[in-house]
Assembly symmetry: C2
Homo-oligomer: 335 residues x 2
Amino acid sequence: MPANRQVIVRALPEGALTEAHFEMREAARPTPAEGEALIRTILMSIDAANRAWMQGATYRDAVKAGDVMPTYAIGEVLESRDASLARGDMVAVESGWAEFAAVKARRAWKLPHIRPLSNLLSVYGIAGKTAYHGLLGVGRAQAGDTVVVSAAAGSVGMYVGQIARALGCRAVGIAGGADKCAWVKGTLGFDACVDYRAGNLFKDLKAACPEGIDVYFDNVGGSILETALFQMNPKGRVVCCGAVSQYDSAAPAGPRNVPGMIVVKRLRMEGFIVMDFAADDAKAQADLKRWVAEGRIKVVDDIVDGLENAPAALIGLLAGKNRGKRMVRVAPDPD
Amino acid sequence: MPANRQVIVRALPEGALTEAHFEMREAARPTPAEGEALIRTILMSIDAANRAWMQGATYRDAVKAGDVMPTYAIGEVLESRDASLARGDMVAVESGWAEFAAVKARRAWKLPHIRPLSNLLSVYGIAGKTAYHGLLGVGRAQAGDTVVVSAAAGSVGMYVGQIARALGCRAVGIAGGADKCAWVKGTLGFDACVDYRAGNLFKDLKAACPEGIDVYFDNVGGSILETALFQMNPKGRVVCCGAVSQYDSAAPAGPRNVPGMIVVKRLRMEGFIVMDFAADDAKAQADLKRWVAEGRIKVVDDIVDGLENAPAALIGLLAGKNRGKRMVRVAPDPD
């Protein structure tokens, strides 16, 4: 029987995630049932949210020890037992860290022909849409605003700042390390990028935002969120997109100025998922394509090769090692 | 020269506010300059925000040691040196804990003839408007929603729950002590009131909100906010009105599930001041008057007599001793 290499969650982490929490296993290749399709995994999206799934039920069920690690992936239909899919279709699916998966055809979305395929996980995928809808739909960014984004070199943050610039805002990133900040400013073209590891976040952020912060796009939570809240302008908007500083911790700490700053400055803090703005997806896609074509948005995909490297890829992401959207290539694009 | 008794801030508190932070002083009665009016203080509003002003600059300048304690007050014009005011006018002013004050006429608002005068500080004043605009304008409460409000026996909270009921919502209060909760439920007519001092807030709140929380009107911050966030329904609204649990503390603690719950449940947390909704004031006033006339809203004013009792009145408020809008009567209504 043909084999199917998988990565299993051996034990749930209490504190920091390590490679010991995972193990490779060889299983039988699944056989699709009626209404299902057999998918060959090509690219797996590596996201901070994967770590959050290991902490408890979020918008999806919690991951349990013994599970194949779940993921959002792009794959090729090898065999279909449903009229909606045909061999050779390229689809987005909720799948697992595995070479093959049998998935319900109605939970697979056929993808448009866009190459490189990786862009469907980055600028034209959830990352790009999250940046766009978060900044416009939730943050209501307008020309002249100062927009700050944390995890600025990350999959979402890198587009938040570039979209902000395209809208005529001042774009200020927060990232860890001088090299990464230089990349955010030099390569991505942000107006400024503050290194939170340098130890003077409050002062450095203040210098980068002389007119205060109108929109803070928060990917991290914790003390960086706390610092940004102190520098928000009245009626500022905080786009709550993630809390990566908290996922890998057994004892998360809340920003001490919540709700104080919200009350005093009349701030709005709001969470969202991209599906909340599905009605605006076509406009998002058109704007992003135009900005990419005009050179206003640079696309950088961070691709790690090999299923066996998925644990290290996720652990590295949580430690901030990625530049742009991180993903694991399990098989080459058949195109 | 006629005297003017005043209460001075002797020293700013580091932790809990005590009577030792204040002292009575006798000063000369002020003489109004051109454009000013001499006001006899009748009622002084006692608010948790008074304590926040002692912590640093908020939407007004911070209070300093040696200042007359500032307050929002209702007073009678004794003498006017401005064409806009006449002797005998009843006005709302930003003033101080003092028998008399000279204030700029353009910073005094002539009040409509409503009696008892105390209602102009409660249901028809900032408290009632804060409850109304917060619940409708920020919280967007709708019939069928479960609305939870903390400091439910307080000046704003008591109206939040009663307005929620008038709108067809389930109204659940949070208050300290079994007696107070019985009053909130029995006298004010909330559907339920949970005693946070009983030590089972999470469980008790869950039992009172079997369908989760749609709108949480937060007057307290801290661990009560944290508990409520865990029980919010997706897309729930948190109206950030105050943080009384934090004002009287040298080391405020933030809710540990911020921004986690905001992200996962797509919540909106938002601060406001009543002036943000000035355009809807006439509707608010009309609705409140109708509900009072129909007996749907009960008005209870908590009046402490004597300027010298203002420090104790504020300290008691911070300890949750009030039932309804607390104020200090400095002089009788001349009407």
